[in-house]
């Protein structure tokens, strides 16, 4: 059975059982490995992507239930054309092992879309579902605030 998905502006026909989570469609079928597997139970946020701009844990969305356009970290920006939030991540030298950072960035991007100037409390509330075992949280917080400023300055 084929399911059609819109991912990062492209259309993909996916031939997998419709209960396969979006995470594993992206990683194993579409070849977008920037989205990571960390827990499989929505407890770590490493698999966060956007569906119609909303941050979702892709390990919990079955292929058949994908309700809109999917954006992954690869669709947010590229090494030669990074999104402002990615540039803030680089400027603040956030990543250590880096494995959770795709999910952190996608979650933070969704936060900024909803709350353009987040308070510390907003950041705590929005980001606490994203685990980082290297403990990059202080720099993530700084990068989010900086990205918010950059986006505001542009508008």
């Amino acid at each position: 059975m084929t399911t059609q998905l819109r991912i990062n502006g492209n259309t993909h026909d996916v031939d997998l059982p419709d209960n396969v989570p979006l995470l594993w469609v992206l990683r194993d079928e579409v070849g977008l490995t920037g989205t990571k597997f960390g827990c499989g139970v929505a407890a770590c946020g490493a698999c966060t992507v956007h569906i119609d701009g909303e941050a979702v844990r892709s390990c919990q969305v079955a292929l058949a239930d994908v309700w809109g356009d999917v954006t992954t970290i690869e669709g947010l920006g590229t090494p030669t054309s990074m999104a402002k939030i990615q540039q803030a991540w680089v400027d603040h030298q956030v990543a250590q092992c880096g494995y959770c950072q795709s999910g952190q960035i996608m979650n933070a991007a969704a936060l900024l879309a909803e709350v353009p100037q987040p308070t510390d409390q907003d950041i705590d509330d929005a980001m606490q579902g994203n685990l980082c075992r290297c403990g990059t949280y202080p720099r993530i917080r700084a990068a989010i605030k900086d990205a918010a400023q950059r986006i505001a300055d542009e508008v």
Binding site: V20, K36, E74, T78, C97, I140
Partner: protein, 744 residues
């Protein structure tokens, strides 16, 4: 050598473009004995292991695995500092497993004696013993050794390459080499003409790299400064490749279920699972099963559907039994008495206190569950995996598939966290075996999180019993006993088949090796004979003793009626000036007074580990809705700080790793299996619970210290001591959530 050449060529093809006409340089002294794995065939003049120059620019081999600690960046900076290569021009690769990349520090750590007491002679002795690692092909990333190991080696590699390039340019220009300089990846002639290094790649091939003196620290451009990490853009754009991200045509996806009792299986029934969606094969691995499918998730579903009867564990089946076995080892003769100053049995008048401490079993929980990718083609095995021990991993994988090590090409990828877990080869061996069962088919194997926790190599539980005597505000006697299974023995037995003789110093590190002057000071290490699989966990023995020992020091200070910070400072000052220095620094940073408002508690923790003294002050607050950590001040003395941004990140990272474990980390056993299985029952610190940090890095230590681990041990007692200050209840058992109302 034919195969080795092939390996080198393929390794380069991954990270950079074609390398025809390339030239490599390295350390002459090391080259003499350890062959350059980059020696290549026709048209490829690769002279040594660390620097490759070709038409595309400069490639540096940084042969320590990146698990987040920034090692690839700082190793590259060490070579680039001498080579005068523009930072943006550098390509950095881990390179193949090879003797040339042996760890020259690891074995030296085992030379008896507390490291803080090292004299230049003793330090030299450690270096000599460390070189035995070459004979063992011991390539390993761990023990916070990378900078100690490569501080000079990488700079020499860069310096000798630079001089060879100048010689090649001198020949081309017909001038004396002394008139040439180097800048931004080019040799500069007196008239300003720049010859790019890439243009000299061909010419430099036949030049023997000269041995030159290293530049003075005062001239450094890259070292000592925060460099943009070489992996940062990739890790911010989802383009960094971990072992679990390798993509190849025709690839299949696998997972395993291995014995959670760590003793194999009695039987299994895959009659239902084998017909599930996407399943291609189910393999009997003897101590578990592997499922190969068209998709990782389908493989995991099928693996869970296999009915397996596990053989019972050979160790006590539950926590109570395990703890009883550990406690019983106090009754046996100690394995070590590496600290035995004065007479701890002397009858000394003073205030005597005793305390018993308990710390639990811990898992590593790297963000990336264990993973590896493998392709077996009959007479060759190619592997991609994040690992901390490339040579041992290569050899172990070769053995299980019936090949020679030379037939295995191992690519050490980025690691989604290591913390010691990826020093083990178990997951790589599994991928090799699965691939061997499916010749010609690339296999990407990923563990579920549940598998990752249940089949960890755990940080052991431990118990300590301390007796102390204080007199006139000072410690006059400290007599401690630490009981736990030995990580070092457990690991040695598993990896080499033998238990090394003599005292296990790592078992008591963080206690016996602390830089305190106490007239009567004895630490006994009692080992528990137990077969729970154990592994290195960020800071190893110090992760246990750091908490237990420093908390007892705090108890002694309290009994002595002394300020806990001043109490430590007085004892450290007499023994080790850099340790006293970090305690003074953290006092100043935090405005330490030993007086806090009613709803605020402050505690200090101090541990000297991996060559680096670290002091931390933690401030906690009772919010009325639970206790939170407000702030953490850290002072560390690494002697030489090669990248202040990366070291600062390691200091906060290590503390957060320690806080996570201290607050809530605990593996418990039931029926011989770890009871926890995912982040909902084995969680860690998150954004809303992380405190503000302030880090100060000092450089008075005479020897370069480690960065990746030393901030973990003191974070745990600092937090416990702050909770005591706040509540009056002493933290003698971890995790702290058992005793204190912490906000999680």
């Amino acid at each position: 050598m034919g195969r080795v050449r092939t390996i080198a060529r393929r390794t380069f093809l991954i990270g950079s473009a074609a390398i025809a006409g390339g030239a490599a340089f390295g350390v002459y002294q090391i080259n003499k004995d350890a062959p350059n794995p980059l020696l290549a065939g026709d048209g490829e003049a690769t002279l040594n292991p660390f620097v490759l120059i070709n038409q595309d620019g400069v490639t540096l081999i940084a042969p320590r695995a990146e698990m987040g600690q920034g090692v690839q960046t700082t190793l590259a900076a060490l070579a680039a500092e001498e080579l005068d290569v523009a930072w943006e021009d550098i390509t950095v690769l881990h390179g193949p497993p090879a003797q040339a990349y042996y760890n020259s520090v690891f074995l030296g750590m085992a030379v008896p004696g507390a490291h803080y007491r090292d004299t230049p002679f003793k330090h030299g002795l450690r270096q000599q013993v460390g070189k035995i690692g070459k004979l063992l092909d011991l390539q390993a990333t761990g023990g916070s050794t990378s900078m100690k190991d490569y501080y000079e080696r990488m700079r020499h590699a860069g310096a000798s390459a630079r001089e060879a390039l100048k010689l090649a340019a001198a020949e081309r220009l017909g001038v004396d080499v002394s008139v040439l300089t180097t800048k931004d990846s080019a040799v500069i002639a007196p008239d300003g003409t720049a010859i790019a290094y890439s243009d000299l790649a061909e010419a430099v091939r036949d030049i023997t790299p000269p041995d030159v003196n290293l530049r003075d620290k005062s001239t450094w451009k890259y070292l000592g400064k925060p460099m943009p990490r070489v992996d940062m853009v990739a890790k911010s754009t989802g383009t960094a490749n971990f072992g679990t991200d390798i993509q190849m045509d025709g690839m299949k996806f696998a997972t395993v279920r291995m014995s959670p009792t760590r003793n194999g299986m009695v039987s299994f029934d895959d009659s239902f699972a084998k017909d599930m969606d996407g399943v291609e094969a189910i393999i009997d691995l003897g101590t578990g099963i592997a499922v190969i499918a068209s998709n990782t998730w389908l493989a995991i579903q099928a693996a869970e559907a296999v009915e397996i009867e596990w053989a019972p564990a050979v160790y006590p089946a539950d926590n109570e039994g395990l703890r009883a076995a550990i406690a019983a080892s106090f009754d046996a003769e100690p394995n070590s008495l590496v600290r035995d100053d004065g007479d701890a049995d002397a009858a000394i008048v003073g205030t005597e206190i005793t305390a018993e401490y308990d710390v639990p079993w811990l898992a590593h929980t790297t963000m990336e569950p264990m993973s590896a990718t493998a392709l077996f083609s009959g007479d060759a095995l190619e592997m991609w995996c994040g690992n901390q021990s490339p040579t041992a991993t290569r050899d172990a994988c070769a053995k299980v598939v019936g090949l020679e090590p030379e037939q295995v090409t191992l690519h050490t990828t980025l690691m989604g966290g290591g913390f010691g877990r990826r020093g083990e080869a178990d997951f790589s061996i599994q991928a090799a075996r699965i691939a061997a069962a499916m010749p010609g088919t690339p296999i990407r194997m990923a563990w579920s999180r549940e598998e990752d926790i249940r089949n960890d190599f755990f940080r052991p539980a431990a118990i300590a019993r301390f007796r102390g005597v204080v007199q006139d505000g000072k410690a006059v006697l400290l007599d401690g006993k630490v009981a736990a299974p030995s990580v070092f023995h457990n690991l040695s037995l598993r990896q080499t088949g033998v238990i090394p003789p003599g005292p296990d110093a790592s078992h008591v590190e963080g206690a016996a090796d602390q830089p305190y002057e106490i007239p009567n000071f004895r630490i006994a290490g009692h080992l528990t004979d137990m077969d729970v699989p154990l592994g290195f966990w960020r800071s190893v023995g110090a992760s246990i003793n750091g908490f237990m020992f420093d908390t007892f020091i705090d108890e002694m200070a309290h009994a002595a009626g002394a300020d806990p910070l001043q109490f430590r400072l007085d004892m450290a000052r007499a023994e080790h000036a850099p340790s006293a220095g970090v305690i003074e620094a953290v006092a100043e940073m935090s405005g330490w007074t030993d007086e806090t408002p009613a709803n605020i508690g402050r505690g200090i923790g101090f541990t000297f580990s991996f060559g680096t003294p670290v002091a931390e002050v933690v401030e906690v607050e009772d919010t009325g809705n639970g206790i939170k950590i407000n702030k953490c001040w850290i002072a560390a003395d690494l002697g030489t700080v090669l990248d202040p941004s990366i070291v600062e990140a390691q200091m906060t990272s290590g503390a957060i790793y320690g806080f996570s474990a201290a607050m809530q980390g605990e593996i418990t056993f039931f029926d011989g299996m770890a009871e926890q299985s995912n982040f909902y029952d084995y969680d860690a610190m998150r954004m809303h619970t992380v405190p503000e940090f302030e880090v100060r890095l000092l450089e008075t230590n005479p020897f370069i210290g480690g960065a990746g681990e030393p901030s973990t041990p003191p974070s745990m007692p600092a937090l416990g001591n702050a909770l005591f200050d706040l509540t009056g209840t002493r933290a003698r058992e971890l995790p702290l959530i058992k005793t204190f109302d912490l906000i999680l």
